[in-house]
């Protein structure tokens, strides 16, 4: 494998507390090394360049049934005329285009946050066909009849831990996510809402209990990524209270609240819709073990896709264009795909935009908040460079706020916030922090021994959005895949997983349940490493757990 010498660059490597330091970076055999014994095969002059580890998107819907439904539903938007890519729309790109656009922006790892265990093969198949990037998935639990029945029966936490660990192994995932805990299941029994302390009709279990049990399972198993939580009451005015109650449900254990913008709404004012970003970020800033990603919205057409069929069914009345699909899935979860156009003429949409930005700017620690649009729910991931500019440039931000078609200035504190993110903070929230929270020891860092996933930006570009949109060089696994902003070689990343230990006797119980009630057997449900590699088409990289399981 070739060696590469990135010479004299301005390095941002927050994992090693390196911020804008003139340094050389050396690459050999796919890894960062301290130095090279021989002259390198390639020298890249980085005098006017910024060097960062490859970016990591920890929440992006890039593969699985709902993504493909959206692709097929919204064919009229597949009219991209840029011949560098295929026709598909930015908010539902093909697998090939997903990889091309991510690597073109310097992203080298992406994580699908809603992988239904019953739909795991499809998610992995789609992700396997995304070139360049490493990928991974969070297995969806907390609406599956099996777990809810266990909780209802008062199963011991260790038995639940065994089940969670088995699901991680069988579905080849790196984390566990819960979406509207218990709500998707309750919708199948015709409940239309489920608040944090409300019991579901069928199982008499509350969302609080489900979140608590799963957060504990993830913690006790030593899974690095905390329970990834899509709270109850998505998009409902006044939902910030249930968001805080959901955080409390973890009882101090690590918890990650996803697309928190959609869960930070008050119900004050004439329109009964207000920002609660201050309340939410106050909580974020003071509570340890709490992280979040934002799910910033961007104006324009997109498609919302979620496992939260309960809320998506309610939202279908806002579909734009007027079409949608909701599905109940395999006693496992559900999905809802609803196209949507965020309009700056809309008071609600404009305020959502401001709430997201307020949340970013009021969060004090860039290690606790992550840059996402919940692609494509808030907007496509291709809008990240624009979002970074909004965070780094107050003048730009204020200009856009002034130009919104609807005046929301009385309803947002955005203009009063002076903060501008620094490049170091951007590097933290898009590199070192997501790597840390996902347990990717060899990523998000330029330490010797780290994976050589590296992005080089052109410092001479005056516009920060342009700089982040088109890095001059991207190196993945030690291979120069983007040179002078042009894609060179196609390579294929790995699937990042974690496999905590479990008592194998859980498999016997599950086998019995599957035989009796499911429509596939347990042996055909579980995906082996060999199947991932030989048939699905992606090698697996097993990450270490934080510790041996506790119980």
């Amino acid at each position: 494998m070739t060696t590469i010498h990135l010479k004299n660059g301005h390095v941002f490597d927050p994992a090693n507390r390196v911020y804008n330091k003139k340094k050389d970076v050396f690459i050999q055999d796919g890894k960062v090394v301290k130095s090279l014994k021989k002259k390198s095969d390639q020298i890249i002059n980085c005098t006017d360049k910024i060097i960062m580890p490859g970016a990591i998107d920890l929440h992006t819907h890039i593969g699985g049934g709902k993504v493909n439904i959206a692709r097929l539903m919204l064919q009229e938007f597949h009219n991209n005329s840029d011949r560098d890519y295929d026709l598909t729309a930015d908010f539902v790109p093909s697998t090939l285009k997903t990889g091309l656009q991510y690597i073109g922006m310097g992203y080298t790892s992406c994580f699908e946050p809603a992988l239904l265990p019953m739909n795991a093969r499809q998610s992995h198949l789609e992700m396997a066909d995304i070139p360049f990037v490493d990928k991974g998935g969070y297995a969806l639990l907390g609406n599956d009849d099996y777990l809810l029945a266990m909780i209802a029966k008062g199963a011991h936490q260790s038995e639940i831990n065994d089940y969670v660990a088995f699901i991680l192994k069988a579905s080849q995932c790196i984390g566990i996510k819960v979406v509207n805990a218990g709500g998707i299941n309750a919708f199948k029994f015709n409940q239309r809402a489920l608040d944090v302390d409300e019991q579901s009709i069928r199982y008499k279990v509350t969302p609080r209990k489900i979140v608590n049990v799963l957060a504990r399972a993830v913690y006790e198993l030593g899974v690095p990524h905390p329970l990834h939580v899509h709270c109850s009451n998505l998009g409902v005015p006044g939902n910030f209270k249930s968001t805080i109650e959901t955080i409390k449900a973890a009882e101090g254990l690590p918890i990650h609240i996803t697309h928190i913008q959609f869960h930070s709404y008050g119900d004050n004012g004439d329109r009964k819709f207000s920002s609660a970003s201050a309340e939410i970020t106050e909580y974020l800033n003071k509570v340890p073990n709490l992280t979040c990603d934002v799910g910033q919205i961007m104006f324009g057409q997109t498609v919302t896709m979620s496992g939260d069929s309960m809320k998506q069914h309610k939202n279908h009345k806002h579909a734009h264009p007027k079409k949608w699909l909701c599905m109940d899935i395999e006693c496992d979860a559900g999905c809802g795909v609803v196209p949507f156009k965020y309009k700056d003429q809309s008071f609600v949409n404009a305020l959502q935009w401001a709430i997201g930005l307020e949340t970013f700017l009021l969060a004090e620690d860039a290690e606790k908040i992550f840059l996402t649009t919940d692609h494509p729910n808030g907007g496509p991931f291709t809008s990240y460079p624009h979002l970074i500019k909004l965070l780094m440039d107050k003048t730009f931000r204020d200009d856009l706020l002034d130009r919104l078609a609807v005046d929301i200035k009385e309803h947002t504190i955005l203009k009063d916030i002076k903060r501008e993110y620094t490049l170091s903070e951007i590097a933290t929230m898009t590199r070192s922090a997501p790597a840390k929270i996902l347990g990717l020891k060899n990523k998000g860092s330029l330490s010797a021994g780290s994976d050589a996933d590296i992005t080089v930006y052109d410092k001479k570009l005056n516009d920060i959005e342009e700089m982040f949109a088109h890095p001059s060089h991207v190196i993945k696994d030690g291979i120069l895949v983007v040179k002078n902003s042009v894609v060179q070689d196609y390579i294929w990343g790995k699937t990042q997983v974690v496999k905590p230990e479990y008592d194998p006797s859980i498999e016997k119980k599950l086998d019995k349940h599957f035989k009796k009630f499911n429509t596939i057997g347990l042996s055909n449900f579980a995906i082996s490493n060999d199947e991932m590699s030989e048939v699905i088409g992606s090698d697996v990289n097993e990450n270490e757990c934080l510790r041996k399981r506790i119980s």
């Binding site: 597949h78 093909s94 697998t95 739909n119 199948k188 899935i329 429509t519 057997g521």
Partner: protein, 418 residues
């Protein structure tokens, strides 16, 4: 890799042949021959065991019906491809990995890609491209649905184990299995004749499924305008109105015979959507048995479209009318068709006005001799693979249960296109 003389017992094998893809089969391999040990429908057994015959295992590649060496047919196929001005690659049945290869292959030759059943499956996609749709999956139907309505004249022929495994199961955890009610609406005589065993939960209603929209309209208006007797209709209506989780199921391949197929599916869908305002209901469209769902899904994530794509250089375009495979063949707008038939037993209807290459499993049927026939192995028997189930949710692993007699379709495609 097992030896030919090995005797091997397999369990939990996935059947690649119908879109239910039942995964509970027990098989025994003796001398590389397959014996189905599960107590299942004879037609299901036959799909495996027919591959044991000597004639099936000694099919040679052919040019104009004459046996030739593999290298000779590859060379001749390359020549036909090079001479072709417009080539259609026609997916006649494939798993995911063959479908992946078909897209790559079409792009290599700047060809057109379509699936043989696209006219049918596009009707289902049309619904959620135009309006709202509520759907469900097999395990939900098995466990949660208390009332199931199935429109079909021939369901057990096309999906032999649907009733036994999904609609009228022995076990169900949300609804007591014995409290389920299943209405099979269509040609009563035919449906009863095909039924596996008597089941008091199943009621057969004699009905012309071409009039399905009329029945749906009658249900909506709670007033019978159909040929169904009033007392039967009223009881049926009452069951539906009292249901907690209604499933309406159909096979589009049957409804497509109706000129108003889209309207029929649309009326079912709208009815289901309206029920969900206050209660729960869902649609379960049944896919064709020729790897339709695997084709839709794979082509969907690779291109954004379900089929009917033309490649030009690194670029491709979709046109539902222009790249309609069957129309292109019928209108003689294509000079070479490459059929790839990995699984199906359906007869291929060829047009002698264009050149035809078939890459097909050895028992592939066709009406006229193709210019080239190259036998290939079957995913799920000869090769590993992956296949989507009818509900679009579950993908199942296909395993190589015997030593392959023939090359895989993927290998053959790579050989003739490189």
């Amino acid at each position: 890799m097992p030896k030919i003389s090995d005797s091997i017992d397999y369990k939990d094998i996935v059947c690649p042949f119908c879109s239910l893809h039942c995964d509970d089969l027990k098989l025994k391999i003796i001398d590389n021959k397959i014996y189905v040990k599960s107590d299942i429908n004879e037609s299901c057994k036959d799909k495996f065991e027919r591959n044991n015959s000597t004639s099936i295992n000694t099919v040679s590649p052919k040019i104009n019906s004459k046996s030739q060496s593999f290298d000779t047919v590859v060379k001749h196929s390359k020549k036909l491809i090079n001479e072709s001005n417009e080539t259609l690659i026609f997916n006649a049945s494939a798993d995911v990995n063959i479908a992946r290869e078909l897209i790559v292959s079409t792009s290599k030759i700047n060809g057109i890609f379509d699936h043989i059943n696209s006219e049918t499956f596009l009707k289902n996609i049309d619904i959620y491209q135009r309006k709202g749709f509520m759907s469900t999956s097999l395990s939900e139907v098995k466990n949660k649905s208390d009332v199931i309505v199935l429109f079909s004249d021939n369901i057990l022929k096309n999906y032999p184990r649907l009733v036994e495994r999904v609609l009228a199961p022995d076990n169900s955890f949300s609804v007591k299995a014995n409290k389920k009610k299943i209405y099979i609406i269509g040609n009563k005589k035919n449906n009863i004749k095909q039924s596996f065993k008597k089941d008091s939960r199943i009621e057969y209603i004699d009905f012309n499924i071409r009039d399905t929209s009329m029945l749906i309209e009658s249900l909506k208006k709670k007033s019978n305008k159909t040929s169904i007797k009033d007392n039967i209709f009223n009881e049926f209506l009452q069951r539906i109105n009292n249901s907690k989780y209604l499933t309406i199921c159909w096979a589009t391949s049957e409804l497509i015979k109706n000129v108003n197929c889209y309207n029929t599916i649309s009326s079912i869908s709208e009815y289901v959507v309206s029920i969900n305002e206050k209660s729960r209901a869902a649609c379960l469209p049944l896919a064709g048995n020729d790897g339709d769902v695997s084709n839709i899904q794979t082509t969907g994530w690779l291109t954004g479209f379900p089929s009917r794509i033309k490649f030009t250089g690194n670029y491709f375009e979709y046109d539902r009318d222009l790249y309609h495979g069957n129309n292109l063949i019928e209108s003689n707008n294509i000079d070479l068709v490459i059929y790839v038939n990995g699984i199906s037993n359906k007869k291929l209807i060829l047009n002698k006005k264009n050149k035809n290459i078939i890459i097909g499993h050895p028992s592939t049927k066709y009406d006229i001799q193709p210019d080239v026939f190259i036998p290939c192995g079957i995913p799920g028997i000869d090769y590993k693979g992956l296949i989507f189930r009818t509900d679009n949710v579950v993908t199942l692993p296909l395993v190589d249960i015997k030593i392959p007699t023939y090359r895989s379709a993927q290998e053959i495609l790579r050989r003739i296109l490189n």
